[in-house]
Amino acid sequence: MRAEDLVEQVPTVTRATTGAEAARVVAEYRLSGLVVADESGEPIAVVPGSQLFGLVLPRWVRDDRKLVHAYDEAGADDLCRRLNESTIGDLLDDEKLTAKKLPSVLPEDTLLEIASAMDEAHSPVVVVRDADGTFRGVLTMSRVLAAVATAAGQDSDLVRRRLAKDIILRGTPDESGPTREAP
């Protein structure tokens, strides 16, 4: 299987998207990472989903993890609400939590080349571009691993469904979807 067989469209966010909106998109689509696009829709960065916690945790807590235990429930909820005040741009600018540079593969790349690109960039998402740089879509970790599992003989209905539909087409988890506009 090649990259062009697995390419899919995912919701994208921009630098101006708030942390709260980004968290909602990740939750709604069960994404493992977010693609950040510029105003023209061109992808500029990939943010692994776990890095969104960098917007929840204040810098002083990331400097001294033991402090996280000092917060009571109300204090923790208060910090979560601050996701509305921070943006994906803040995350991209954070020197400690810089989001991954945009890893990309060619449409004709094999599973091994895709795996190598994801592994090297420690990224759950890579973009697919033609040789001339035209953006074709992205590869998500779950879909790539579905292809890897199939190649390894671990086939199942759910794996086949994951291979058959991309994230936008399969919609939100209750399958009621199509798709909502990307923020």
Binding site: R59, W60, D64, K66, L67, H69, Y71, D72, E95
Partner: protein
């Protein structure tokens, strides 16, 4: 002056300018300068590794290394976070009371450990407390950097310049306690009053916000109570080792290394965790610096300078002591006080000899150097390592402290604390005796 002496001075001055400019990594400069001193033939391998006067001062290096490992283990326990939050709650989250307690905690911890690590541990919890209280954290961070420099002045291990002075002058932990701790207690009181005038009187108490600090659970920050108990015992024994030097004759560096070994054994932490706090770059900086200063000693530059100063000073030790006190305060504000003291210590050594057993008037020069360099470090944002660390933390947390913001307050604090030291040096070493 010989050709090698001139070359040594040129290399040293060039390195000093580069270090002061902060344009180039200071460790690279120190090591580069040391390499040049070797290449121009001023110092040889034997001088670098085995000479106490002209080589790397291993006592200083290993004392720092040992204390860094001890702190590396101690910080895993969460005790610093606990104490800071506990103190804020004891102050009922009233801003100035909280600041005052944090100043005292920082000063005491800096005296017992080292001031860089202390501010590294106190700053994050301070940011948390200020965030809860919706207070600007900059005054608190400034106060803590300055408190760490004042508190660190009290002991041999509190501030790196003191470690260098102790090693070069042969002064013990107790010598520092007896000579510097009393004035540091006074200075701390003065600094609390200054903190009120500079920042505290404008702080506003908000009972609702205070409630959110009172809701914090400091006990939860203790990650390993068993390790904490063990580490308090180790730290107590290390301090006992420093205090009983006259009986055991164990060098402070050996006491710190034994403490570090015990900490590692008792904690069973993986090496990457207890070595996390070891600032290898700082240790290398010290090594390079010692070689550069050693080259000046070996080339006879320091002794020539000392002999001309000796003839100028004669028996007038009071103006000499006050000159060193004031001059060190000014120069330590301009350049990092570590290279300054590394350069001055051999000079003072040549002027009056090793500190132990000297008459008070002559010994006053050593104490004036320590007070001037340690307290002078408060003058600017680059005067002491703790200041650099605090401004870095503030910047990362979106509360930048500009050079001039620091200097505006730092100059006031330095001027007042040095002014308090002048009568102390005069009365203690020239009047009472």
């Amino acid at each position: 002056m010989t050709v090698s002496a001139v070359l040594a001075v040129v290399v040293f001055a060039g390195a000093y300018v580069l270090i002061a400019s902060e344009k180039v990594n200071r460790t690279a400069v120190a090591l580069g300068g040391a390499a040049l001193m070797v290449l121009i033939g001023v110092v040889r391998g034997g001088d670098v590794f085995f000479s106490e006067e002209t080589g790397v001062d291993w006592n200083v290096i290993f004392l720092l290394l040992g204390m860094m490992v001890i702190v590396g283990v101690l910080r895993q326990t969460g005790v610093f976070e606990f104490v800071a939050i506990w103190a804020a709650q004891r102050a009922r989250a009233r801003p100035f009371r909280m600041m005052a307690l944090l100043i005292v905690i920082t000063a005491v911890a800096s005296a017992l450990l080292d001031n860089v690590t202390t501010v590294l541990l106190v700053a994050p919890v301070t940011l948390l407390l200020c965030d809860r209280l919706a207070l600007a954290p900059v005054p608190f961070l400034l106060a803590e950097a300055m408190a760490s420099n004042i508190g660190g002045t009290a002991t041999l291990i509190g501030d790196p310049p003191n470690i260098i002075i102790a090693s070069r002058a042969g002064l013990t932990f107790n010598d520092f306690l007896v000579n510097l701790a009393p004035i540091v207690v006074v200075l701390l009181g003065v600094f609390l009053a200054l903190a009120w005038l500079l920042w505290g009187r404008r702080m506003v108490y908000d009972p609702e916000r205070a409630a959110s600090v009172m809701a914090l659970t400091p006990r939860e920050t203790i990650a390993d109570a068993r390790l904490l108990r063990r580490m308090l015992v180790v730290l107590g024994l290390v301090l006992l080792g420093f205090l009983t030097h006259n009986l055991t004759h164990l060098e402070p560096s050996l006491v710190a290394l034994l403490g570090a070994g015990a900490s590692v054994l008792l904690s069973r932490l993986p090496s990457d965790e207890y070595l996390e706090d070891v600032e290898w770059e700082t240790l290398l900086f010290f090594a390079g610096l010692f070689v550069m200063v050693g080259a000046l000693v070996k080339a006879g530059v320091i002794s020539e300078l000392a002999s001309s100063l000796t003839s100028a000073i004669g028996d007038n030790y009071l103006p000499a002591a006050l000159g060193i006190l004031g001059g060190s305060a000014v120069l330590s504000g301009i350049v990092d006080n570590i290279p300054y003291v590394a350069t001055m210590a051999p000079l003072v050594h040549d002027l009056v000899g090793p500190g132990a057993g000297l008459p008070p008037a002559q010994q006053s020069l050593w104490w004036a150097l320590a007070l001037g360099a340690d307290l002078g470090g408060n003058a600017t944002a680059i005067g002491a390592s703790a200041n650099v660390v605090i401004t870095g933390i503030a910047r990362r947390n979106d509360h930048p402290i500009s050079f001039w913001t620091f200097t505006r307050y730092g100059l006031v604090v330095t001027a007042v604390t040095i002014a308090v030291c002048i009568p102390y040096v005069w009365i203690r070493y020239f009047v009472v005796t």
